[in-house]
């Protein structure tokens, strides 16, 4: 079981959380100007990285807040937890 350090509540068991998918997918500001390809990419296509992956988690059975996690999808090691709107250390985007 993962031990996830919620930025607000500290370390808690994975069973308190829900994974909310890939992080940093911004909703297009003007959806009408997008082509079908771009809209399909926004809705459905995912990076699905094998290795270090930036994803959103939701502390469902806790503070109910969202945050970002930098986690390895092979070893499941969590390297960094950071707030929504921020980026992992050393990465600008």
């Amino acid at each position: 079981m993962l031990l996830i350090p919620c930025p607000w509540c500290g370390e808690r068991d994975e069973s308190e959380f829900t994974c909310a998918g890939e992080a940093h997918i911004a909703r297009p500001l003007d959806p009408d100007s997008l082509t079908d390809d771009e809209w399909g990419d926004y809705l459905f296509h995912r990076t699905n990285t094998k290795g270090w992956h930036r994803e959103q988690w939701h502390h469902t059975a806790g503070c109910r807040r969202f945050f970002n996690v930098l986690r390895n999808t092979v070893t499941y090691e969590i390297k960094q937890v950071y707030k929504i709107g921020e980026f992992p250390q050393g990465e600008e985007q």
């Binding site: 994975e14 990419d41 986690r71 999808t73």
Partner: protein, 416 residues
């Protein structure tokens, strides 16, 4: 290839079963092939078999990173059914069911296909409405199915918990009599042996590490055992789909998740059918060896590590306990995780890509085993003709751009 029969069994018994011919060769990769299938699981081997048997393409190879059938083919709960709601999937899975029904004879290999029936339980009024709608849709598509009441379930499976006082009471079920189970390893071995005997090279311990292109046409694959030239690459790698897609600079609507399965210690015959429940989310059958084969849902996060989280184990077991209190003292023998490629609409992607000569068969998510022969059959057609068969035309990659999704998520009998 020697044919397996009662006579070959008797002949080999005379030499203490020490002189059986190897079921398939272990050839060195050639410099070039007419087509290469990446991934030696059930679907990949089936594709190779049907390419050779139906389309006459015999100068082909299957490349497998590990050993054949060592991935999800050997890590699933072996349930076979075709009772899907929408016409597109119903027709595809029913094609597969028809192939299953003759598969042992066709391959000359006993895949132990056992049509013991599949129950999909309903626990709420909405479940019942969905089940009735699905049963009716199945029958209109020529697929067997019937609605059964709680009393009929209690009669057929006396030890299932049909008490109206349980947390999620069983209110009814769909039943597909032609559904059942098959021996997963035998499926991989049977297809491998049959493909090999038609001249297909099955190359194990050969990992694909790159895809070479000339403009928008593939020219070959880089592998851990050198470069192999080919004009056609069929990729059937389940959880590793995105990894291979990245080599060709394609983005896929796929996320990889661990899906766990369990077998218990062997017990005497008790359950002679397959029981699945969407609402409490678990499914169970009993293998011929006697162990209960149990599965449930995916772990919620993306993962490539072939193992699963403890809370999913707990969730699975509580679902099984809810349905079968009698199993409470059965101990689990083994647990494992396979990496499944989950698509947004819980339907596979089988078709061409923007790159000529590159084909993908992926996105089967948690329910690919049942489709093994049908998937191979339509994918072989796609690779051979550079165009999909009418059965898989709707399962294109473009549907995520056009929006023509096949929304089986929630509509299918189970537990995706």
């Amino acid at each position: 290839m020697n044919k397996y029969s009662i006579f070959s069994l008797a002949r080999n018994a005379l030499s203490h079963h020490e002189n059986w011919q190897k079921a398939w060769r272990s050839p060195e990769p050639k410099k070039a092939y007419d087509a290469i299938i990446v991934g030696g699981g059930g679907h990949g081997l089936a594709t190779a078999y049907y390419l050779a048997s139906e389309h006459g393409m015999r100068n082909i190879a299957v490349l497998e990173k590990g050993w054949i059938g060592g991935g999800n083919t050997g890590r699933n709960t072996t349930i076979v059914r075709s009772n899907y709601l929408w016409d597109e999937s119903a027709n595809l899975y029913e094609k597969s069911m028809k192939l299953w029904e003759g598969l042992s004879q066709e391959l000359n290999y006993n895949v132990m296909f056992s049509q013991r029936g599949v129950y999909n339980l309903g626990h709420t009024l909405q479940d019942l409405r969905d089940i009735q709608r699905r049963v009716n849709a199945n029958r209109l598509n020529g697929i067997d199915g019937e609605f059964v009441t709680t009393e009929q379930i209690a009669e057929r499976i006396p030890f299932i918990n049909t008490s109206p006082d349980s947390r999620y009471p069983i209110l009814g079920a769909s039943f597909q009599p032609r559904g059942g189970t098959a021996r997963h390893d035998a499926v991989a071995w049977g297809f491998a042996r049959a493909a090999d005997s038609l001249g297909v090279d099955i190359i194990q311990n050969c990992e694909v590490i790159g895809i070479r292109r000339d403009g928008a046409q593939v020219t070959g694959v880089e592998t851990s055992r050198g470069y192999i030239e080919t004009p056609k690459i069929g990729v059937v790698v389940a959880g590793s789909t995105s990894v291979i897609a990245e080599m060709a600079e394609l983005r896929m609507p796929i996320e990889s998740h661990p899906l766990q399965a369990f077998v218990s210690e062997p017990i005497k015959p008790i359950l002679d059918t397959v029981v699945m429940s969407n609402a409490v989310h678990g499914y169970v059958s009993q293998s011929d060896k006697g162990d209960l084969v149990i599965g449930a849902g995916i772990d919620g996060y993306n993962g490539y590590g072939q193992r699963g989280g403890f809370q999913t184990i707990e969730h699975t077991m509580s679902a099984i306990m809810e349905l079968f209190p009698v199993f409470s003292r059965v101990r689990m023998n083994r647990q494992w995780g396979g990496i499944v490629d989950v698509c947004p609409d819980a339907c596979p992607i089988i078709g061409t890509t923007p790159i000529k000569g590159l084909y993908f068969n992926c996105g089967w998510g948690t329910g690919g085993f049942k489709a093994t022969p049908g998937s191979g059959w339509v994918f072989a057609h796609t690779v051979a003709n550079d165009a999909p068969h009418e059965l898989n035309a709707a399962f294109s990659l473009e549907r995520f751009i056009t929006g023509a999704l096949i929304d089986e998520h929630g509509a299918a009998g189970v537990a995706h």
